[in-house]
């Protein structure tokens, strides 16, 4: 590095050197390499390094933090959604026509069997209005808890079960009789042999 600053090498153009014959003169001592001051550079690099590491750390931590927060919010959302659903369900249950009909009945309301319509612009009444009585209002609940067909089906099932039981009993009895007969016969034959 220090050589680089020296005059031209003698071997490179010997002719010209002889021609001009310039005297060798002392050249100023080579300047020390223009080095950038070290300290700022080191500081910069270490700051980058430290900054990067710390930044990464902070970033990671904050991501982890937000993951936790996400989970918490997710749970909260789930709870709230469930709550909303529960409330919505309650509302829907209240809208059940059975409930509304029961409430209306409590208030003494009935379904009109006939109503007239007013045509206001023509000042006309269409249809026949009749005072509302209970005739068109169906009952809220069946009078007989079990419908006839269910009762019939149940009765049939019970009859079938009874018949089956009876048949089984008869079968058993028959089997028993048979066994007895067989036993008696065996006895007879065996006693005959003995005789």
């Amino acid at each position: 590095m220090s050589i680089a600053a020296a005059p031209q090498a003698p071997g490179r153009s010997p002719d010209r050197a002889t021609e001009t014959q310039t005297r060798l003169t002392a050249v100023p001592a080579p300047l020390p390499a223009p080095m950038a001051p070290r300290l700022p550079f080191v500081v910069l690099v270490s700051m980058l390094l430290v900054g990067g590491v710390v930044g990464l750390l902070v970033f990671n931590t904050s991501m982890q933090q937000s993951a936790f927060q996400e989970q918490r919010l997710q749970e909260q959302a789930t709870t709230l959604a469930a709550r909303e659903q529960a409330l919505d369900g309650e509302l829907k249950k209240m809208e059940d026509p059975h409930k509304i009909a029961a409430k209306a009945k409590d208030l003494g309301m009935v379904v009109p069997q006939n109503a007239a319509m007013l045509r206001v612009p023509e000042a006309k009444i269409e249809g026949e209005a009749a005072p509302a009585d209970r005739s068109a209002t169906p009952p809220l609940h069946p009078k007989v808890a079990k419908p006839y067909s269910v009762l019939v089906a149940e009765q049939k099932a019970a009859e079938a079960a009874a018949a089956k039981k009876k048949a089984e009993l008869a079968e058993k009895k028959r089997a028993q009789e048979k066994a007895e007969k067989q036993a008696a016969e065996e006895q007879r034959t065996s006693s005959g042999e003995a005789r």
Partner: protein
């Protein structure tokens, strides 16, 4: 360059002292080459252990370790798809879904506190104490269902409270909840969902449409227990696809009214069962389809299996005299008769090897065709229908939709029975004229009557608003409903007027009870002998029915009511007529249909 210098400067001081210190160290630790060799061997040994382990991990069995690592931290969560709702025509829910949980127990942990926990669960979840106790004590089991389909809020609260009170071994798991807020309203159509799948009705028929597809999320978690997501870890997510809603043409409030009215009528007449259908005349939309007895979708187990569907669709029966309307409409369309055609109706009529009688004793009667319908004369109908040439009646009935499914989308629907052309014979045809020897379901009959109401054009009845594809791949709904002309507009309107005489003729009318004051109403009674499924014979019981539409000159609704085996011996007019009137009146009022204000028909019924 500068960096290199820095490094050099750092290194130099480190190297320099070492040569200087060598002699002393050598003296202490032996010659250099021995130390080097020993060091080399040590390093080589360590490295070969590492190498061996590397081969073991990566070469021999890489997957099990990877799987173990994954199992340690990777969490795979199911992202539940929400099942579509079933809605009525106004968007009111007939069935909807919400988050539900099942409460589970590990008997190994619950055994020692079983009585206390059982009491706690009985109080919090309303489970049966004795059965809960048995489950909590079960030997050799680590998994017991305590209660399924519990609302999420209730289940979570209960389990958390249990933990707080120090009871171990209870946890929850996802178990979606299906709600039927209206109980038995339209339950016959909607069906219900069992613990493990749909079991009846539209829930079953449109399961694929409603179900949706669960998604899942797979990610690295900080711990598999907490499930907190690890940022920048693997993250595979497949979003769930929610099920589609199913909007019906049913009107919930009308359905309620129809069901209750039908229930009342069936009970009052001590009948076996009943069915009622309300159809929008102009669109073929079914506004209400009621069955009684029916079941509560919230508690299907309380009803026998045979009631957990729609008998109006699955049970076929002989329609009786309502069928005469179709027979006569065809005759009018062919121009073979007119409403004023005069008929001399004898007291008995020979057909095949049997006699046909009317429902009332009479000698020779002079009736017009309108009178035959008004008075519901079997003999008169058969006499008029003799004008059909071979096969014509069957063609008309097929066009009216008899003998084939209506295509509502429910596969439980029965097609009914219309004799095939090969087995068709004149004696049967005579009976078919007035609705015996043919069987139909209630919706088929409603759609056929609606053809008359709709000016002779039959519209496929539909239960689904818009369109939807059911499990067997059929696309059904109002969008796909076909319109086909069956009889001419004139034939239809004449039939309609003749049907008006059924209700408004003071002498010959058979169903004055079906009138709706202020409106022109057309209808027809039916009293049919029933076939007993056991003996395959007519067992003396009857099916009474009434079908009709209003207003006669601009029909908006077609209503059909049928009641099986009324114990009070009533007929179509007395048992089903009032039901028809109530339902029709309610529907007209509910939809704000004004009376047409025209003069009612005064067609002569006798001569």
């Amino acid at each position: 360059m500068a960096q290199r210098q820095v490094k050099r400067q750092v290194r130099r001081p480190a190297r320099r002292p070492s040569p200087r210190s060598t002699p002393k160290a050598t003296q202490r630790r032996g010659p250099v080459h021995i130390r080097l060799r020993v060091g080399f061997i040590l390093v080589a040994m360590v490295l070969s252990v590492f190498g061996g382990r590397l081969v073991q991990l990566q070469g021999i069995d890489p997957h099990s370790y990877a799987a173990m690592a994954a199992a340690e931290n990777v969490v795979d969560v199911v992202l539940p798809a929400e099942r579509g709702e079933i809605l009525d025509r106004d968007g009111e829910a007939l069935a909807d879904s919400s988050d539900g949980l099942m409460v589970l127990a590990d008997p190994k942990q619950t055994k020692k506190d079983a009585p206390a926990i059982a009491a706690f669960l009985a109080k919090e979840l309303g489970v049966d104490y004795a059965s809960a106790l048995a489950k909590l004590r079960k030997d050799g089991s680590r998994f017991q269902y305590i209660k399924r389909q519990v609302p999420a809020t209730q289940a979570t609260a209960a389990v958390e409270k249990a933990k707080k009170e120090g009871y171990q071994g209870l946890w929850t798991s996802r178990d979606p909840l299906r709600n039927y807020p209206n109980g038995d309203v339209a339950a016959n159509l909607v069906g219900f969902l069992g613990n493990d799948g749909p079991l009846a009705g539209l829930e079953a028929a449109f399961d694929k449409h409603l179900a949706g597809k669960d998604g899942h999320a797979e990610y690295d978690a900080t711990s598999p227990v907490s499930g907190t997501r690890m940022p920048l870890g693997t993250n595979n997510r497949v979003d769930p696809v929610d099920g589609n809603d199913l909007t019906l043409t049913i009107d919930r409030d009308l359905q309620y009214y129809v069901q209750q009215t039908l229930m009342d009528a069936v009970q009052k007449s001590r009948a076996e069962s009943g069915m009622a259908v309300v159809m929008d005349t102009q669109t073929g939309e079914i506004l209400s389809l009621a069955d009684y007895p029916t079941f509560d979708a919230r508690d299907p187990a309380a009803s026998p299996k045979s009631l957990r569907g729609s008998n109006a669709l699955s049970n076929v029966y002989e329609p009786g005299s309502v069928q005469k309307v179709l027979t006569v409409a065809g005759l009018l369309d062919q121009g073979l008769v007119s409403p004023s055609t005069r008929l001399k109706v004898p007291g008995s009529y020979r057909s095949g090897d049997a006699d046909i009688h009317d429902w009332y004793e009479h000698g020779m009667e002079k009736l017009t065709l309108a009178g035959v319908i008004a008075k519901s004369s079997n003999i008169g109908t058969v006499m008029a229908a003799d004008k059909y040439s071979d096969g014509q009646l069957r063609d008309y009935l097929t066009a009216f939709g008899q003998g084939r499914r209506t295509g509502l989308g429910l596969d439980t629907e029965s097609a009914g029975l219309l004799a095939s052309p090969e087995t068709w014979n004149p004696a049967d045809e005579d009976r078919i004229d007035f609705g015996q020897s043919i069987s139909v379901n209630a919706v088929q009959m409603t759609a056929a009557l609606n053809t008359i109401a709709n000016g002779g054009v039959r519209i496929d009845p539909s239960l689904i608003a818009g369109s939807a594809t059911n499990n067997s791949g059929a696309e059904v709904g109002t969008d796909t409903a076909q319109r086909t002309r069956v009889v001419s507009e004139e034939a239809a309107s004449q039939t309609g007027e003749m049907m008006e005489r059924v209700i408004n003729d003071p002498v010959n009318g058979t169903a004055k009870q079906a009138a709706v004051p202020g409106y022109r109403v057309s209808g027809k009674t039916g009293t049919a002998q029933r076939v007993n499924s056991e003996c395959k014979c007519y067992d003396g019981t009857t099916t009474v029915s009434f079908g009709g539409f209003a207003p006669t000159d601009d029909p908006r609704f077609t209503v059909y009511v049928a009641i099986h085996n009324p114990g009070n011996g009533g007929g179509g007019g007395t048992v089903t007529g009032p039901v028809f009137s109530q339902i029709m009146s309610f529907a007209l009022r509910r939809y704000g249909v004004p009376p047409t204000g025209t003069e009612p028909s005064k067609m002569p019924t006798g001569w």
